[in-house]
Point group: C2
């Protein structure tokens, strides 16, 4: 039994996963942040079947993360460039990479952000912009916006 | 053709997705942050087949995000509580939720973080702890740690 949708229109986590939750999708975006734009670059990097890559790219174009642009007329060739939405998602990939580096990598990782102005390796972390505090802290608790403070989420 | 692994031991993004990339896994963790610990709570919230939920919970226990604890002997009943690693992953889910709220939600979302010390809704964003700057900024570029600055990632 495989459903096509998480059917949870009010949840921002489910709605994001609707667009990027399929296998390989986030790794395509990771490679886009590394500067890859062409089908053959992605195919070589990810080592996935071309029909799967074609489907994932079409899905990322449809959901507004990538834009398809023709870069050669003869022969006809397209490339896939990040949209504003796609670039914005780098926040999520940066936090996923930082988490992976903290928990699973014991040696030089193949994906870290560098600060090109200072040449230093960046240390991505998620903070609350209002208080300036890191969100991994018991003071931050999830609830829905239309739920009274103090009620349980059931 | 479905492979069991992304086979990319050096990439922190791939290594994280190895553990949380399966369908439903991140939504189970989302519900754990909301305080759900029991099988029937998760089954009701996610509306997934029990055998799928059993498999995903076992996988999250195996990869160290959840710990299985017995809370009743008669009848025997277990609950699933977040480990330190599981709590740390709230950073990633917070950034995914913030992204979803920016791009896909037009009304009251069902998952936002609140600051229990102030009662205010939090605004999670990903910054570089070294410079204090937001990582969605062209000055931050990905590369591997063992790659010279300025070379392309091919």
């Amino acid at each position: 039994m495989r459903r096509t949708s998480y059917e949870d229109p009010d949840c921002p986590v489910a709605q994001s996963l609707e667009r990027v939750g399929e296998r390989w999708t986030i790794l395509i975006l990771r490679d886009a942040y590394k500067g890859m734009t062409r089908f053959d670059q992605l195919e070589k990097s990810l080592k996935i079947a071309p029909n799967i890559l074609t489907g994932r790219l079409a899905s990322l174009v449809e959901s507004g993360f990538l834009e398809r642009k023709r870069y050669s007329e003869r022969p006809p060739r397209d490339e896939y460039v990040l949209t504003e939405r796609g670039r914005d998602f780098q926040e999520v990939v940066a936090s996923l990479a930082a988490f992976g580096n903290r928990h699973f990598l014991t040696h030089d990782p193949s994906f870290v952000l560098f600060d090109t102005q200072t040449g230093k390796q960046a240390d991505p972390m998620v903070i609350d912009a209002v208080s300036g505090q890191r969100v991994v802290n018991p003071r931050f608790q999830p609830r829905s916006t239309n739920q009274p403070v103090g009620s349980t989420d059931d």
